[in-house]
Amino acid sequence: MRIKEHPILEFNQKEKVKFTLDGKELEGYKGEPIASALVAAGIKVLSRSIKYHRPRGFFCAIGKCSACLMKVNGVPNIRTCVTKLEEGMKVEIQKGKGDFN
């Protein structure tokens, strides 16, 4: 969900882009962090812990906690909270420590 109206801030209309999460098409704004587009689309689980596969969500937003590491365009362990969203990005929930294929 997005904030529609705010008493202090103005959220200027930005350019909408399409991207996919595990093949499913989603929409977000160009240049916002990938993770923020995912949360806005109602996605809460961004990764799974390596050993017990417990769900992990957005936590620190400054690229320091590793809860949002995902595979983006085939590259694993991308910090999606500090990586800008671009048109056509392929985002995947990665398994384990991540691999390149």
Binding site: I3, K4, E5, H6, P7, I8
Partner: protein, 165 residues
């Protein structure tokens, strides 16, 4: 008490409320700021010198109620939203409260809104007399309240008619 709940007690309030004589003379400021913190915009905002100049940035605001005209300019300068203006004898039966408002929706003039006390409890519906939009976005809302409620009401809740958010 204030430190545990965020709600000032009667003892706290006694220190900042002008005496009866001044209250009936017309609009006057009430500054509900009880803790020494490094903050001074209120004192600088009052051009009439009613809020005494701070010797130290951590001073508590001290008001010279005789100099205060209740103009309300200081209200939107305060980052703590701790400043109110009341006009006890606005009408025979009613008092007027000017309070800061930074939440949406913004009420309209003439609209009935819920009056909230310092704990956020609803005290009933009251009428909005004026909506003053301020550039720094701390808008000032004037509401008309029964005299018995003038020392209780400190916030409002506006119904979200279009359920915009």
């Amino acid at each position: 008490m204030l430190e545990r709940t965020g709600i000032p007690t009667d003892d706290d309030l006694e220190k900042v409320i002008p005496d009866k004589k001044r209250l009936v003379q017309g609009p006057v400021v009430i500054i509900e700021c009880f803790q020494k913190i490094p903050c001074d915009p209120c004192a600088i905002s009052c051009k009439l010198g009613a809020i005494k100049p701070f010797r130290d940035i951590n001073d508590l605001p001290q008001v010279d109620f005789d100099k205060c005209t209740g103009c309300g300019i200081c209200i939107s300068s305060c980052p703590g939203l701790a400043i109110f203006v009341i006009d006890m004898n606005y009408l025979d039966e009613k008092s007027l409260i000017k309070l800061p408002h930074e939440i949406l929706p913004l009420p309209e003039k003439g609209e009935d809104v819920y009056a909230l006390d310092r704990a956020g409890s609803m005290l009933g519906k009251v009428k909005v007399i004026k909506v003053l939009k301020i550039k720094n976005k701390t808008n000032i809302i004037s509401i008309e309240v029964p005299k018995s409620m003038v020392m209780k009401v400190r916030s409002i809740k506006v119904e979200d008619k279009n359920n915009e958010r």
